[in-house]
């Protein structure tokens, strides 16, 4: 009898998952992955596009990365019928499943902030989380001479939470190189109580924005945009000449239609097993879930490893024994061809140290270095050639404390 794993979403998490799963499950298991289009973006590359970075090789065909033994269906999902264990596609096709994995990521929702999609959208209001947005912003920046450049986060959670900070550092560097920095007010607007919120990172990195003369407007939850001003729920206004915003992030709409989402359409799951709290045959991996760690490719990668092991156990009729620890590992571009590296999990905040080899590196944690920057650039090759095909890389999914220093006692 053939059994069926259906994965919704052939992005970073979904692609790695089906490729790894195909190698581990026998032929009695059919694996299907569904996506609405055939364009797989390398999203970390979008960050450099506004500053003239390359746009070729940022998008490839999803087909190229999906294992031959996996069926790729290009169609949008209408909804999941949980009781019937079926996925209904928009063209009417039905996909029955034994196990379902939701890997449909997040959707940017500028429509959720009144005034964002008004006449100023892509005139003075831009995003860099889409390739179109990043390209439009590149054009706008080339024509920018002076004024208020405001970098803005609508609300959390967002993909790659450090990206708005990276954008700010790169903008500062880019403006300096063009002699425009002294004519530009650079403002960072966040709904959190500061740009850095964790104790060790705040202490070590807190001055990175003030050193660059970046004004931070904290605790700012935007209610609407009026003309060229952000207006918060408590009536504060932040005027801009150029707004670089990160729009509200929500899960895929079919998740909400299927009754599987929280208030933002993310799938509530057990944070260690990624199993839906609504149904034991459903899992969510990558940005689509509600786990309390960063929405980041590294999290997708590490958690896919755990999920594959658990699904193999379930397929064999055994209980799941593997547990995800929330491990994330993120490069942070800081300008001047340097970068920082963060490594953390559910329990441990980002700490200084070395990575990946304890005490040796070559990369340094929570500290600017050239090696980190080169690591970030090299990662694009690793992504296309090693990670997506599901080839093993010598990084264990669980975070390691070896080689980390904890300067602040938390006990």
């Amino acid at each position: 009898m053939t059994r069926h794993v259906v994965v919704l979403g052939a992005g970073t998490a979904g692609t790695m998952l089906v490729n790894k799963l195909r190698r581990r499950l026998d032929d009695t298991w059919k694996i299907t992955v569904v996506d609405r289009d055939d364009a797989h973006p390398y999203q970390p590359g979008f960050l450099f596009v506004p500053f003239g970075g390359p746009t070729d090789d940022l998008v490839r065909s999803r087909h190229a990365f999906v294992h031959d033994g996996v069926e790729l269906v290009l169609e949008a999902v209408d909804r999941v019928d949980v009781a019937a264990q079926e996925v209904l596609l928009l063209d009417g096709r039905l996909l029955p499943y034994d196990y379902l994995v939701i890997a449909s990521g997040v959707t940017l929702r500028p429509d959720q902030t009144p005034g964002m999609l008004g006449p100023e959208w892509r005139r003075s209001i831009f995003d860099f989380y889409t390739l179109d947005g990043a390209k439009a912003l590149a054009t706008a920046l080339r024509g920018f001479r002076r004024g208020r450049l405001v970098v803005h986060v609508t609300d959390v959670p967002i993909k790659c939470p450090v990206a708005p900070l990276e954008f700010t550092f790169l903008a500062d560097d880019w403006l300096r190189r063009r002699g425009l920095r002294s004519h530009t007010e650079l403002v960072f607007v966040t709904p959190m109580d500061g740009a850095f919120t964790k104790p060790v990172a705040s202490e070590r990195l807190g001055s990175m924005l003030s050193d660059r003369d970046v004004v931070v407007e904290a605790d700012f939850l935007v209610e609407r945009i009026e003309g060229r001003s952000l207006v918060s729920y408590d009536g504060r206004e932040v005027p801009f000449d150029l707004l670089v915003t990160v729009p509200l992030h929500m899960g895929a709409e079919f998740v909400t239609r299927s009754g599987l989402g929280d208030e933002l359409g993310f799938v509530p799951v057990d944070k260690h097993t990624l199993q839906s709290t609504a149904d034991p045959r459903i899992f969510a991996v990558g940005d689509a879930s509600d786990i309390p760690t960063s929405k980041a490719g590294s999290v997708a990668h590490f958690s896919v490893d755990v999920l594959v092991d658990n699904l193999v156990e379930l397929a064999a009729g055994r209980p799941m024994t593997h547990s995800f620890d929330g491990h994330a590992n993120c490069f942070v571009e800081s300008g001047d061809r340097k970068a920082l590296l963060l490594d953390f999990n559910y329990e441990t905040e980002p700490l200084p140290g070395t990575f990946p080899v304890p005490y040796v590196g070559p990369m340094s944690l929570l500290k600017e270095s050239r090696a980190n920057h080169l690591g970030k650039l090299a990662f694009q090759w690793v992504y296309w050639n090693v990670l997506l095909p599901g080839r093993p890389i010598p990084l264990a999914p669980a975070m390691s404390m070896v080689g980390k220093q904890n300067p602040v006692s938390t006990s």
């Binding site: 919120t197 990172a201 729920y233 309390p292 963060l342 980002p350």
Partner: protein, 104 residues
């Protein structure tokens, strides 16, 4: 973690005064914590605090304003009225939960 005494309640707090031991919180302490930041608790406040506590127990993460609003039925505008200026932080403080944090 430092120990502090608030009107006879001995509690563990972090550097910013947020409770670090969830079990030390109760309704009475909520009133004391609210008074520390100049708030007098009403039923509206308490409805929000109840949601925040229950939600944290389930998810291990302090709710954002958007989630608190959706979960408690109190509009975001009203959250700003009930916990003026920095509602996310103030709600967490009075509810005895960690303040909302990002990844760094």
């Amino acid at each position: 973690m430092p120990v502090t005494t608030l009107e006879g309640h001995e509690v563990h707090v972090d550097a910013e005064g947020f409770l670090t031991d969830l079990s030390e919180w109760d309704d009475e302490l909520a009133t004391v914590l609210a008074a520390q930041i100049g708030l007098t608790l009403t039923d509206e406040h308490r409805a929000v605090l109840t949601f925040l506590r229950d939600d944290f127990a389930q998810r291990g993460e302090t709710a954002t304003l958007r989630r608190a609003s959706a979960g408690s039925g109190v509009s975001v505008k009203d959250l700003f009225r009930l916990f003026p200026q920095k509602p996310a932080k103030k709600m967490a403080y009075v509810a005895g939960l960690p303040k909302p944090v990002g990844c760094v």
